[in-house]
Point group: C2
Chain length 441, copies 2
């Protein structure tokens, strides 16, 4: 393929470092009138339009006046089969799983149905500006096949895996240590690093996996050292008590995964609402990541995640945001960031707009170990990005009518998008420099 | 005016009693294929289409197939001058007032500016299906004039008042007991019961009103016995401590208002997050109302309101929902109901979809003492209603594709609208039977 150059002129916002640890001046890159040059789907250069234009005379430039371009959002925890179970009423985690989620996931043994929902799910991601996600499929290999088929068709960088669960669930939804090993292995061999796709070994959580199955998961990590481990951890008080009952000899919830060999630098644990100091320290030491899912934690009444502890200086833990559909209530990582702010407020903590958007972009990339490929506009990275319309509704047009030039003004403006924005805020989504979604007028 | 008959054919949902105290069968009215007949802007009759059609042959019928008609929503606490301050970053109540709100409200001494914002505000209400609101203006009489002028133009049943505040605020924003009395009196005489408009005596809260000003408010209630009292109460821990410091001789926050004679059956108190048992009992005894503002309580990190205590059998308190813009984060009472659910979940309580929608309609009408005029489709009531589209987005169309016939199915469907809905869910808003807003296609 001969080199294809294209460019976008707009305002740009991305992160070059972590605003939880260094100042905004050191971590936030804001270019009021910028030019993003893309070559074969990768970032070639980002800079001021004035300085760069002479260098790229004659190339195709798409302009988005009044808009803001950011790297695509990264959703570090979401369940595609639960798309249709969003907003299921009245229960907390364990009852909600049995009443709504398990019967829903049963439908995903049929490839055609799973493919239909995967397509709806991925369209929702793109509509909401999410370009990479770490995804739970269902227990059936067909559900993973369907998801990867649709993600591959869209050329998305996505990570997913077959759920492993061999107990404490209806018969129709359980596998065995042996079948979960065989099926996961086959899926890894077929899909891991197939194009932009990656595989995550995915035991649902300690309640639904026997010790034997957890050790099978560990065996898969040993045999395929660059796949991920993706599971749930310390989301809900009753869940934690049940884990204690199932694993009385362990020192705590994380220790169940740890003794099984599942706490690694490629492990992503969803929730962690009730982690102890020692568990935060262990995750930090192991370089594991947490997916913080605020809309889900509020919807299920799980509790308030301690952001400041995950982002402490002493024991920093890699942290991303997850929508956690269907316990989460929005596909939008903007809205998810807004709910993360509310969780912080209830705990008398501050989460700045830039910190929140870092979590949704470069922070998420680091949580997934993909910071060499996605998360910001560094040269050589994959050009997945979104065009944000700060005046997407009449209310936001009134609120955001003033032009933005300073970081402080930008912070105030993007904060309004976290709090009042929605999918309508996303004007367009690009995958490897190609238009993949455009908001209808 | 000769009698004008018109009718609407659709599914209908309203409340004929309180689902917190009686069963859903006794409180929820759901007509799958209904006809709402309106005469001169008032409800003449609501019933099954099949039974009623023969009686009204030849009258104009507007049909909304697939939609759901409900009474217009009632917002029991909102600040119109704060429309532009929605989503202001980083502070809790008292600091947020000083940093963002007081400077914003200063602009409302100019009638033209206040009128412009009042128009934007009222358009947002209609777009979100809100047809009645209890509204804080600013301290300036011009702001009240502007609000009532625009509400009158739209023929809305709205309640508002000039803010009274004579201390603990910037000089530009304070009045005196005497000027607040004179200005409120003039506004009452001009606007109270002018068309559908009503007046609320509106001391901001105990922190910004001296004891002398609170007694002036009481004098206004004595002189005009059918106006309202609208203020804030027990929202935030620091606020409560400051009130204690300002009124050391009182037994608590509510007692400050009570000794001033402001706790009446026409008093609406916003928030009440930290009310004591004795205060709930006192509000019950006085037949006062509380406006529960969940999005605001989460956004400012104020805390979690005890719904089940307000709706206890022993000491029931009249309860409505408030968006509390600009501390609230949405004009939509559907979204506000969804956040109320999340507050209940965090407290391990259940708030059913019908209970939440009751608060947004008939419950709000009762809180405002307007249950003889609005809140449901009883014969003779004012025909303010909304047309709801359960499939307003691709996600909701997928989620809600099955037809609804039972109360249980309806509950599940309206719950999805509370959790995932938005202004887009409102297809049309009617005021006194006339189309006032229609969603663009």
């Amino acid at each position: 393929m001969s080199a294809q150059l294209k460019a976008f002129r707009c305002s740009f916002l991305d992160f070059v470092d972590d605003p939880f640890y260094v100042s905004e001046l050191e971590s936030v890159r804001y270019i009021v009138d910028g030019l993003l040059v893309i070559e074969n789907g990768l970032v070639k250069e980002l800079g001021d339009y004035e300085s760069l234009q002479a260098k790229y005379v004659g190339i195709e430039i798409t302009s988005y006046p009044g808009m803001l371009i950011m790297p695509g959002f990264i959703d570090t925890h979401v369940h595609f089969p639960q798309t249709e179970a969003i907003a299921s009423y009245g229960e907390q985690l364990l009852e909600w799983l049995h009443k709504y989620i398990f019967p829903t996931e049963r439908k995903f043994q049929e490839f055609a149905y799973a493919q239909k929902v995967a397509a709806i799910f991925l369209d929702e991601l793109l509509k909401n500006g999410t370009t990479t996600a770490l995804v739970f499929a269902a227990v059936y290999p067909e559900s993973v096949e369907a998801f990867f088929t649709e993600a591959h068709r869209r050329n998305l960088r996505a990570i997913a895996g077959k759920v492993m669960m061999d107990r404490n669930a209806p018969d129709y939804l359980v596998d065995t240590p042996e079948t979960s090993y065989q099926q996961s292995k086959q899926l890894i061999e077929k899909w891991h690093k197939n194009g932009r796709l990656l595989y995550a070994v995915t035991p649902r959580f300690a309640i639904t996996s026997s010790a034997e199955q957890l050790s099978v998961a560990s065996r898969l990590l040993d045999e395929f050292p660059d796949v991920y481990l993706h599971t749930h951890l310390s989301e809900n008080v009753d869940e934690i008590a049940f884990v204690k009952q199932l694993f009385p000899e362990n020192e705590g919830y994380l220790d169940v995964y740890d003794r099984a060999g599942l706490v690694t630098n490629r492990s992503i644990f969803a929730h962690g609402v009730y982690l102890t100091d020692a568990e935060f320290a262990r995750l930090s030491e192991a370089e594991s990541a947490i997916a913080f899912c605020p809309t889900s934690n509020l919807f299920l009444g799980s509790g308030l995640f301690k952001i400041e502890q995950a982002k402490s200086k002493e024991h920093p833990v890699k942290l991303g945001l997850g929508t956690d559909i269907g316990a989460g209530t929005s596909f939008s990582l903007l809205q998810t960031a807004g709910e993360a702010y509310k969780v912080a407020q209830l705990r008398k903590q501050k989460l700045s707009p830039f910190q929140a958007l870092f979590l949704a972009t470069l922070g998420g990339a680091r949580a997934l170990g993909l910071e060499d490929k996605i998360g910001n506009f560094e040269t050589g990275k994959e050009a997945d990005f979104i065009v944000i319309d700060p005046e997407c509704t009449e209310l936001l047009a009134f609120r955001n009518s003033e032009a933005t030039t300073t970081l402080k003004e930008l912070a105030a403006k993007v904060f309004t998008l976290m709090i009042v924005g929605s999918d309508r805020t996303i004007c367009a989504t690009y995958i490897l420099g190609n238009l993949a979604y455009e908001r209808p007028n």
